[in-house]
């Protein structure tokens, strides 16, 4: 395809296309929108991108995004240190944080058991987790994994080990979304909600 743009824009478009969900048309639009920015803003934006490899790290404890040795959650002295919530990816932590009802620590697995995607137990951050548990002080584990086949299998696989270590293990409930109308729930969701129903106290 013959290019209609000067090389600087052309290279920028190619770069933007690597972003998720960005196709040729969107990349072109985004690149062109940069041409309207003041030079200083562009420089700052570029510097931010350039700083990522230097500034962004992963918490040595839980694996969350961090800019220091440990992430702000692990460093927070007010967090409960006897509960660990296990998530598949670091991007799931802000979602749980937003609920405001969890005050414990996290651990990022970095994936899950997914044989069909060639992901075995050796691809998970388990050594780090075992080190944390061996250090003592943890009493409860919450498994916040997805409720599909691989998530369910990963949860069962982890639960086996933790229970043997004498920890209390729970999983996030699966079922009806809050505020949902029963009449619109699909059969699988309703079945999950029925299976994990709770006694009214």
């Amino acid at each position: 395809m013959a290019s209609n743009y000067p090389p600087v824009l052309e290279e920028l478009i190619v770069g933007l296309r690597r972003l998720p969900g960005v196709g040729a048309r969107t990349a072109e639009r985004l690149a062109l929108s940069f041409t309207g920015w003041p030079a200083d803003d562009l420089r700052n934006f570029g510097a931010l991108l350039a700083a990522i490899p230097e500034r962004l790290r992963f918490c040595t404890g839980c694996g969350n995004f961090a800019e220091a040795e440990t992430c702000p959650i692990c460093a927070d002295p007010h967090r409960q240190r006897d509960v660990i919530c296990i998530v598949e990816q670091a991007i799931q932590i802000p979602a749980i944080e937003k609920t405001g009802c969890y005050r414990g620590l996290y651990h990022v697995l970095g994936g899950r058991l997914e044989p069909l995607a060639d992901k075995g137990p050796e691809t998970l951050r388990l050594a780090e987790l075992r080190t944390r548990l061996a250090a003592g002080g943890v009493r409860e584990i919450i498994l916040a994994v997805s409720s599909d086949v691989e998530g369910e299998a990963t949860a069962a696989w982890l639960a086996h080990e933790f229970r043997a270590a004498g920890l209390s293990v729970s999983r996030l409930a699966a079922g009806l979304p809050v505020g949902a109308d029963l009449g619109y729930a699909d059969a699988a969701t309703l079945a999950a909600a029925l299976n994990s129903r709770r006694r009214l106290e």
């Binding site: 058991l113 044989p115 050796e122 086949v149 299998a153 069962a156 696989w157 059969a187 699988a188």
Partner: protein, 378 residues
Amino acid sequence: MVFSDVIPRLELRSFRNYCRAEFTLAPGLNLLTGANGTGKTNVLEAIYYLAVLRSFRTRQIRDLVAWGAESFQIKADVRRPDFSAATLRLAAGFGREREISLNSAPVGKGSEFIHQFLCTAFIPEDIELARGPSAERRRFLDILSSQLDGAYLHDLHQFAQALKSRNAMLRQPQRFGRRETGVFETILVRHGAAVMMRRRRTIRILRQRVLEDAPAFHGEMPPRLELAYDPGVVKAVRPGEEEEEQTLAARYETALMESLEANRARDEQERLTTWGPQRDDLALFISGKPLAAFGSEGQCRTFALLLRLSSARLLLEAAAGRRGVVLLIDDVLGELDAARRAAFWRLLPRQAQLFFACTAPPAEIPADLAVTIHPVSP
């Protein structure tokens, strides 16, 4: 009440030999007439695709896209017996994400789009139900079971995913041990047993229907027909036929687990799961003998046609005034004698909307069917 105005309008774009086509359809019997190769079957295929999200002829999406186009679109207005209406739209092409929408709102999951109306197709390849491999009968059972039970597809998908995962793990024994396969086996067994329960139930009610409908086809000397569920678990642990439904679910779970256990060494060696619902079959017998081996060509065709007809009648009961039923009939009468053709027309349910593809209108259409003729040209 007779409700057969399920699809009043159908629109095709870049589908098979149709660039753009619109059909106004009638309640009752719609005859699609035209010479060979004009695209009669393609219309039936489009209706089927909209109902079941797959074709009855091909698994290749690119076969469905018109020459030179990148994707096809099927759109239809659908009415339910309570007169509520919906517009279904589907667009798909090779290497692109399928788009489905219900009343212009995009639908994410196929399971929320499928079976807006219940559809059965009678096609010449149906004879494979009688004498083909068990996979043909499992597909027939799976579609019928999902039409009868909204939760079935979920169990089937979960089971299939767990089975594929177990097989993938068996292929890499150095990486995945018993502990890893074990957690997927628990899921495989739970959903596998649910699949087996549903298939068994489907066969039970289908059997009853077939035995009632069969005499109409066979006249004075009816051969003894029989159909039974043949579950894919090792014989030694198979639950009995008379077992109560409540205890049966647990029995299937145990049988499935024991089948996995008994073949573990073999599975590990062959790197494939030997037993399970992936080996289920619908066993067909004629006069006490297996149909595929002992039935004549005519007997196989008749039995296959009966399976379709009886399942269509089951669907009408199951829909019970909630959803419409559509029957697609393509070239299945040619091989039958006059008496069996008459039986076919007699048993064809009047409460369904019927689509019949033919080169010329058949002479034996019963007088009580309202007929609309649609000459088809590409």
